[in-house]
Symmetry: C2
Subunit: 137 residues, 2 copies
């Protein structure tokens, strides 16, 4: 089930790539609408990016998402220096800041509405597609 | 002179760290105010982040900065997996999108107004400071 939902959102190549990278970058908007960006650990499940972390609910990114759900998330790396080849996956999405409940830690979930990818199986040029919100769990 | 200006904005530890990393992540705002984020090559000069790239003036990030100068820029890496130690420098700043002129390629410049750093010489907790705009070249 999880795999089916993931595959409805991310391609197999994207899921493989996301599985090889440990850090993502989460972008949120501050109270003034200006952007902020931090490295985060993440996992992908049911087509949704899940972001945890120590004392997450006390962080500015958690409060930002709670106030304004507009978010972006990036996983990238430098596949080759010579020639210069960067690859990555950018997710533009709607965030949810979910507080801790009994026995379950707080989490930020990013539901993709647009995915842009480059350098995986599609050469260096970015390719973008829109995601049906109904496809994410 | 360049070094003096850099040091008025970035600390020596930050400059050393930025010099070791090849990729940064540039965050811009789309027309609707939602964030976008891409990996970019960069250099630091006179306390300013300089971002180039192939056909830069035709990119969405260049148009975004030209319309709304609010930007963020992140350099990070995973210093250790066990224990989990992420380090990095986040710059919140004001962008300039400068078109190509005779013999000079287009560039995006980010003038920092806030710098947040963690895991360099200050342990894992982020430390933040405001930058005097007059300090950047």
């Amino acid at each position: 089930m999880t795999t089916d939902l993931n595959n409805a959102v991310f391609t197999a190549a994207e899921l493989d790539y996301l599985g090889t990278q440990r850090l993502g970058r989460l972008v949120t908007l501050g109270r003034d609408g200006a952007p902020q960006v931090r490295p985060v650990g993440f996992r992908v499940s049911a087509g949704v990016i899940h972001i945890g972390g120590y004392d997450l609910a006390a962080t500015q990114k958690f409060r930002n998402i709670d106030r304004d759900p507009r978010a972006a998330f990036l996983v990238d790396d430098l596949a080759s220096v010579e020639p210069w080849q960067v690859r990555g996956v950018e997710v533009r999405g709607t965030g949810q800041a979910i507080p801790a409940t009994d026995g379950v830690e707080a989490v930020i979930r990013i539901h993709p509405w647009r995915i842009i990818t480059w350098g995986l199986d599609n050469g260096g040029r970015p390719s973008a597609r829109r995601i049906d919100p109904a496809a994410t769990g």
